[in-house]
């Protein structure tokens, strides 16, 4: 079956621009997660959705970052006024049951480069 998909796979933008990153979770998965991975580092938690609502957004670095999941499936991570320090791979994961130890399945990521 299809895994988690993310688009675009690569995004190059200029400092100060707005970007949107999309995540399509595995069908039927109620929980969705966003992580950010800098070069040579492990992924860092950003936000966690249970259904349509953000259950934990404590990992978002500042108010330039925002994520939505309006219908409880596809999620979009939005970054305003991008900065060079935002350059990283943004990973999305999903799991079957919210609030459990269900395995988180990761997508391939979107590599964001801010020039």
């Amino acid at each position: 079956g299809a895994g988690v998909s993310q688009t675009p796979s690569n995004k190059v933008t200029e400092k100060g621009k707005y970007v949107e990153l999309r995540c399509d979770p595995i069908s039927g998965h109620t929980a969705l997660y966003w992580y950010r991975q800098s070069l040579g580092q492990g992924p860092e938690f950003l936000i966690y959705f249970q259904g349509t609502g953000a259950a934990d957004d404590s990992g978002l670095p500042n108010d330039r970052f925002f994520a939505v999941r309006p219908e409880g499936s596809v999620s979009t991570l939005k970054i305003q006024r991008t900065e060079r320090g935002d350059s990283a791979v943004y990973l999305c994961a999903s799991s079957l049951l919210a609030g459990s130890t269900d395995t988180q399945y990761f997508g391939p990521g979107t590599r964001l480069t801010v020039l």
Binding site: G42, F45, T103
Partner: protein
């Protein structure tokens, strides 16, 4: 702050040998641990997990050992193959007030290279 880290950043082994990748964690509230494999250009792939009420768990060619006394986690790969070459991350998560484990904290990673 508390964190998860790895002792060795790189590990090179011969094909057919056994590999051991180590990880130290410092959050005493962690009760669920996972090993992920990440190949270049791909997202992390689940390998095996273990709860804090266990000290050993085996999968296909992989074994995870947990030593809560010294806060140490290891991943053993038997008969390592070239396809095992990747970066391996340990991740931990504490149980939150609602009884959920969801916020993974990853270590830095160990690069495993398998020589044919």
């Amino acid at each position: 702050g508390e964190s998860v880290g790895l002792h060795l950043p790189t590990l090179s082994v011969q094909e057919g040998d056994n590999s051991i990748i180590n990880c130290a964690y410092s959050n005493s509230a962690s009760d669920y641990f996972i090993w992920y494999k990440q190949e270049s250009g791909k997202g992390p792939q689940f390998i095996i997990d273990i709860r804090s009420n266990m000290d050993k768990r085996q999968g296909q060619r992989v074994t995870v050992l947990l030593n809560k006394t010294v806060k140490h986690l290891s991943l053993q790969i038997a008969a390592t193959q070239p396809g095992d070459s990747a970066v391996y991350f340990c991740a931990e998560t504490p149980r939150d007030s609602g009884g959920s484990n969801y916020k993974l904290t990853f270590g830095k990673g160990t690069l495993l290279t398998v020589n044919p």
